[in-house]
Symmetry: C2
Subunit: 158 residues, 2 copies
Amino acid sequence: MSKAQVIDEHAVIHSTFTIEKTYPHPPARVFFGLTDKEMKRRWLIEGEGFEIYEYESDFRLGGADTSRFSFRGGPELTNDTQFQDIIPSRRLVFTYRMTIGGKPLSVSLVTAELLPSGKGTALTYTEQGVYFGGAEDVAGREHGSRVLLDKLGEALGE
Amino acid sequence: MSKAQVIDEHAVIHSTFTIEKTYPHPPARVFFGLTDKEMKRRWLIEGEGFEIYEYESDFRLGGADTSRFSFRGGPELTNDTQFQDIIPSRRLVFTYRMTIGGKPLSVSLVTAELLPSGKGTALTYTEQGVYFGGAEDVAGREHGSRVLLDKLGEALGE
């Protein structure tokens, strides 16, 4: 292997994306959906094609979540989340590290901001991340996050 | 207080900056300086004007650092760091939460990449962050990080 290839092997990509979404539920309900252990399990790692090996959640400032799962028979995925800032019904900041098949995939910093919008809630979800694979991981993360936030809406009874 | 002011009170700023710096030491030495508990203490929280109240470091994947200190008689600052990705002498990814005077200040995701450059090391330091105060915090963080990376150079015997 050439030196250039060795260097590329550890190259990273930094990326930021923002998703805006409105839910027909008040901020307290959306915040509950984002943070409650059983609600979160439903939209984050459950559903058709998911197999769950481990899921622990300790929602508090400085607390952590851990999950191990696979999707559609693929390699094991892990998610280790740390809760960094909590303003109930208003703001949630967390960081999370993911691995795939035992290899580092990404580390992300997420800010979820909730504001009243009519009788519902306007969510602004900003994810700043570093990715250890290719550009397809970045595009996949934004798409995947949109899918998860739609699943959150379903879990809330949208 | 008007509703607009209440909303502004919790507004956030997202920002990313990159600092590039070359050290005359090989990557293994720079990595040691970035991660060794006593070396880190020297450039991160020690020196003229600093008062240290607490400093603990547990450098390993999933490990954490905690420090409490003040600078020039100002309010207490805290730094809670989590180590997210470690490739010795090559890459370090960590997240850290800061508070000032008991109030949340910022949460950041840092990627430090080290590459050989002649007999020395080229460091690329990328900080993606969310700030809970004003724009001056963002400018201050970039400036402060440059100062710290210069102090790292001094600690390494630059």
